[in-house]
């Protein structure tokens, strides 16, 4: 299984690559080689940091190549900011559009007495229809670190609660995103990544 991991210079890819390899995947990193995206069997878009960094995906032509791969049915997984990019955009960088695969936008956690960012292990309420999260039992924990999040909609695959309910995972067909870090979420995270690697039509 060859996984193309997209590098858009937003943070460190080492953890994601190491974990995919641990699960038996062959990984290829690209920051703009569109032919790799065109021949990909799986695409992973990681990303920590600022939503504005996704501008690089547009500048390199990766946005179009990813959109075409998704249309061909290639399984796609966005992690953290990589998930947020699947939406129309984020209030973190209002000028920068996302992929608009999901029509809603990401917003910052509301002001409250709780701290933002949301950092640490939180539990998931998994929707039974999710294939990405198959086998994840109620109350299993995953590791989050973020200040912005997607809304709960019909495409939400798992809900987490912090200040308000938000989309911990999103999924429609071959397009999947997780707000948490499966590569840092112990056995639960490995199970989710295995589901992604084993996903087939």
């Amino acid at each position: 299984m060859r996984v193309v991991v997209i590098d858009y210079k937003a943070g460190n890819l080492t953890s994601v690559l190491k974990t995919l390899r641990h699960l038996g995947a062959e990984t290829v990193v690209t920051d703009g080689d569109l032919s790799l995206v065109e021949s990909a069997e799986r695409i992973v878009l990681p990303g920590v940091g600022h939503f504005a960094a996704t501008e690089r995906l547009d500048a390199t032509g990766l946005t179009g190549a990813i959109r075409a791969a998704i249309a061909r049915g290639v399984p796609f997984l966005g992690i953290c900011v990589g998930m947020q990019w699947l939406y129309a955009g984020s209030s973190e960088a209002p000028e920068q559009p996302g992929l608009v695969h999901f029509s809603e936008s990401c917003t910052r956690f509301a002001e409250s007495t709780e701290k933002v960012p949301h950092v640490g292990w939180n539990s998931l309420e998994v929707r039974p229809s999710s294939r990405l999260l198959a086998g994840v039992e109620p109350g299993e924990f995953v590791y989050f670190t973020h200040s912005y999040k997607g809304p709960v909609t019909a495409d939400t695959a798992a809900v987490a609660q912090y200040i308000e309910p938000f989309a911990a995972a999103v999924e429609r067909g071959n397009v999947m995103g997780v707000q948490f870090h499966p590569e840092k979420s112990s056995e639960t995270g490995l199970k989710i990544l295995r589901n992604f690697l084993g996903w087939n039509r």
């Binding site: 937003a10 460190n12 940091g49 949301h118 640490g120 973020h146 609660q161 590569e183 840092k184």
Partner: protein, 259 residues
């Protein structure tokens, strides 16, 4: 529900885990990769590896240690000790760390916080602060002072003010060690931890003074800590992070269980 984190801390010298009091009488306590994997397996929510080697050759050994430790570790992994520059941090990230902890280098050059954050994200930058109460001050807690060199030298600024600056410069978390409590096993400095936790909007990791399970419950409650460092949890009458968390859950603290 967001849970309180129990972070296992390994002091590493020349590629080996060591135990000792105030960095003297060091006793070899095993291989870092093996120990980190064991802590993760036994329920630690995160691993911190603190390099106490200060030499140049030590840096290369550290990177090798980080690489070996990260290989089979699937929980957050933070590395601290001896990171003086953005280049040092980059090497540690490339070796597999998720976060770096910086202390005196950030005090000497606060721009280092934003420099690392710009490339690796704020979540990857932990600013460690060594603190002592100021008994001469009108408010010894609010006026607690920042120390360096293992608590020997005051830098002349308050902990609360430095924690706020670190946050403004883009730190993702604060690792607060009470030098008054460290090694006493008489409990965390909950007043100081609460003062810092209330002053910033980023998570605060409490460190120093743990001696019983009740001390952890106390620092998560009264101390308003988001996480606590368990440097040598086997001294507390529990055999693993899982046991510690099981007892904390019974005391009403939200923790990641089962784990």
């Amino acid at each position: 529900m967001l849970t309180k984190r129990i972070i296992a801390c390994l002091d590493v010298h020349a590629g080996r885990v060591v135990k000792g009091v105030q960095f003297v009488d060091l006793v070899d306590a095993g291989d870092p990769a093996t120990q980190a994997a064991r802590h993760a397996r036994e329920g630690a929510d995160e691993i911190v590896l603190l390099d106490i080697t200060a030499t140049h050759e030590g840096r290369r050994t550290l990177l090798d240690t980080v690489r070996r430790t990260a290989r089979e570790l699937f929980v957050p992994f933070c590395v601290g000790g001896g990171i003086r520059s953005a280049r040092d941090a980059e090497q540690v990230f490339e070796a597999g760390a998720d976060k770096v902890s910086i202390n005196s280098a950030a005090l000497a050059d606060p721009a280092l916080i934003s420099a690392i954050g710009a490339s690796f994200g704020a979540q990857a930058v932990v600013v460690a602060i060594d603190a002592r109460r100021d008994p001469a001050a009108a408010d010894p807690v609010r006026d607690a002072q920042v120390y360096v060199q293992g608590g020997r030298r005051s830098v002349g600024r308050t902990v609360v003010e430095w924690a706020r600056e670190a946050e403004q410069r883009g730190a993702g978390e604060i690792l607060l060690t009470s030098m008054d409590s460290d090694g006493t096993r008489a409990g965390f400095d909950c007043e100081l931890t609460a003062a810092v936790s209330e002053a910033v909007g980023i998570p605060v990791i409490a460190s120093g003074g743990a001696g019983t399970v009740a001390h952890f419950a106390d620092v998560f409650g009264r101390g308003k800590a988001d996480a606590a460092l368990a440097a040598s949890i086997f001294h507390f009458g529990v055999s693993s992070a899982r046991d510690l968390k099981t007892e904390l859950a019974q005391a009403g603290v939200p923790v990641r269980l089962p784990c």
